[in-house]
Chain length 431, copies 2
């Protein structure tokens, strides 16, 4: 196979920096999730290196070669994972050697290392193990401190370097940190670092938020990028600068401006969740909370207790799926359930008050609604949910119609977010 | 930009079938893990379609165009995810239109749909939303039943078809099943059908299961492939035959053999969950259940109520995070809590009995454990969880040490699975 022409115009050659190529038919079949690509992506970001493309190809010599040649024509650095094992479907080293017309040579020191490792693990050396000691002439070995598959660092042609790593995450990580990180810092050091800050919003759609900060989305350094998830929107501010301090100096004014424009819709930072933010607000006040859940069925409790140390502020809750249980566990008057129905503002308020009293907590929150797919009526359609918060000197309720087109799980998740956000807003409003 | 030359020799053009291109700088930055690629890979496998490459590019018009053109030169079908939102960094549709020199046109029916959805969600229509109604002339719309971002199916040149989907997994999945699956079956179908059956196991590791069925994993038609997830293992049996009946004739004996060898470890099929299986077992007997949750904090209730119609068998539960609440809500004797501690077999049993009595249900299940990251001791380490099931004439408890290396969330999820499985086994054992 000859080296194909780059599909990119001559003057744009090598405009790419780093690319990641993950090798393995098991990824293409969907058998495993490609966590290596994500881990490497985060590593490259933290080194201040942009990478422009990730690819996955299967254990097929011709396609693997094709992908390697394509990448060598457009990028400076290729990082591969997988395909370094001893079995016939491990083809990475062979594909690289063929792609660049380099002979393979057996390295005695690798062979010794493989034999030692197999002996330690009480495994017999078989002829196929010899394959892992073969590397292209001129390549440098990346030792594998854990397994039998070493990687290589090699520049088979001017302006292009490749590094190979095993697909086993623990081996990849160890080898990356020992070999690739120092190499990249020495050879690709941009003298610039990339610093990111994530801001989290709820109660606003991605498009409404984007409209509100339209001008800030145009800035080049730092950049501001929105990401929508169910019931929330994230903004990532990313600055590129000579050092961390300077990068933060670029981020701070943009963050302040965003905070100013969005007010209470900004609920947290980085890995915050509404549950963690609510628990922290309560902890600061030395207050506690409890929940009374109908259609969310325990989802609010689960979200709160997912946070380490939740017990400091979260006392507990009741999941009341039937009217009888609403009566007996939360002392909701039977007449109220008959008059207004279980999905109503009075019942939501009584549930929140009931939880607060039962658990002797400062705050009680309640959710009652119709998550579907059955149970909707003309006046109370699927997606209608009532929320209530009871606290010292206050009991307020709101309702939301999330829409009959929503799935049960989404209505439940949106209800959890909305309920926690209602308590957050009240806690903030009351100082 | 002109369409670049294929890097592949003329006679090898279009040797590829399907490719997946995921679009989003957040993937390249490592902010999110590319679960969409894996989901699509599994879907394509189950349709009997091989896909040969997956790529990820960022939100950059030129690079996105370049990737699309490359793929159109080597493959028959391109599936994209992401970049369909309303914000300026959502560039997929524009990149496609530019890549194939097609003008964009505003589709009135999409605009109406967007406006209706925004109105339902009480969001204002802003000018940027209009962008989502633009699609290349000649493209067919893939309606989005959940969000505002429709996709397209389009053949911009002979022998090449692309399909675009949003990056939000729930929207992608819904649209894929409604639009792409029938299209692919009609247009890419071979004379053979691929029929799959998923068997779900719990209480056994992937490697132990693989060992147990080692010979069956070697068969070529049907194939048996294991997929491990947290707390469970799936086996997918896939047969390729002239028609569905013949395919099923291949699957049935393998399924029987698997059932024979694995016994109660096989808990369900296809999209079953432990919660759905337990609810169905109860429904068949006309029995009911309730929960008492400590370290799972509502997770069992949430898993049960995620199933439509859960209220037929699930009455409710209590989340008791403090000793005081265990006493007051479930009548656990204070002395028992002092003597044995909250994380103990007697307390788990008393909680299960307490739930059963409070909710007057046939069955009560309880979980109490140490999910970490704090709270572990020498005798009761992080990861230790006690489970109990109380029912007519029975109250049994078990414990499990999931290991101190586990994350809080994983210990909680494993506990939910284990608790539901304990009830399942008891229900099956008692006929």
């Amino acid at each position: 196979m000859t080296i194909a022409q780059s599909p990119y115009p001559e003057d744009k050659k090598k405009k790419y920096g780093v690319e990641i190529l993950c090798i393995g038919t098991e990824i293409l079949l969907g058998n495993i999730i490609n966590t290596n690509a994500r881990w490497l992506a985060e590593e490259l970001s933290s080194l201040g290196l942009s990478h422009y493309r990730q690819s996955v190809v299967g254990d097929n010599l011709e396609r693997l070669q094709g992908a390697i040649i394509d990448i060598s024509n457009r990028s400076r650095i290729l990082i591969t994972t997988g395909g370094l094992g001893p079995t016939p479907d491990d083809l990475t080293t062979q594909a690289i050697a063929t792609a660049f017309n380099a002979p393979l040579e057996e390295r005695a020191e690798i062979l010794i290392d493989i034999k030692e490792k197999l002996a330690t693990n009480k495994c017999a050396f078989v002829e196929s193990n010899r394959k892992q000691a073969l590397i292209p002439c001129g390549a440098e070995v990346i030792p594998n401190p854990i397994g039998t598959a070493p990687g290589i660092i090699w520049s088979p042609k001017p302006g292009f370097t490749l590094m190979t790593f095993p697909g086993v995450p623990s081996e990849l990580k160890e080898m990356w940190i020992n070999s690739a990180v120092p190499w990249l810092q020495a050879n690709e050091g941009t003298n610039q670092v990339l610093v990111s800050k994530v801001l989290r919003f709820t109660g606003i759609s991605e498009s409404a938020l984007a409209e509100q900060i339209h001008d800030l989305l145009q800035i080049r350094n730092p950049t501001v990028a929105p990401y929508a998830e169910l019931g929330e929107v994230k903004l990532r501010i990313t600055a590129k600068e000579a050092n961390r301090t300077k990068a933060n100096q670029l981020i701070t004014p943009i963050e302040s401006e965003l905070r100013l424009r969005t007010g209470l819709q900004l609920y947290g930072y980085e890995s915050d969740s509404l549950a963690s933010v609510v628990l922290e607000l309560l902890r600061k006040r030395g207050q506690s909370m409890s929940v009374a859940e109908s259609c969310t069925g325990g989802g609010i409790g689960a979200a709160l207790t997912a946070i380490p140390g939740a017990s400091e502020a979260f006392i507990g809750g009741v999941i009341v799926y039937t009217n009888l249980m609403k009566e007996s566990l939360l002392d909701i008057p039977a007449q109220m359930l008959i008059t207004h129905g279980a999905v109503s503002a009075p019942v939501a308020q009584a549930m929140a008050k009931g939880a607060r009293e039962k658990f002797q907590s400062d705050w009680g929150i309640a959710v009652t609604g119709i998550a579907g797919p059955a149970g909707g009526t003309q006046s109370k359609p699927i997606g209608l949910v009532h929320f209530a918060v009871a606290g010292p000197h206050i009991c307020s309720s709101t309702s939301e119609n999330f829409g009959t087109h929503r799935k049960r799980g989404d209505i439940q998740r949106l209800s959890v977010i909305r309920a926690l956000n209602q308590l957050r807003i009240l806690l903030l409003a009351r100082g």
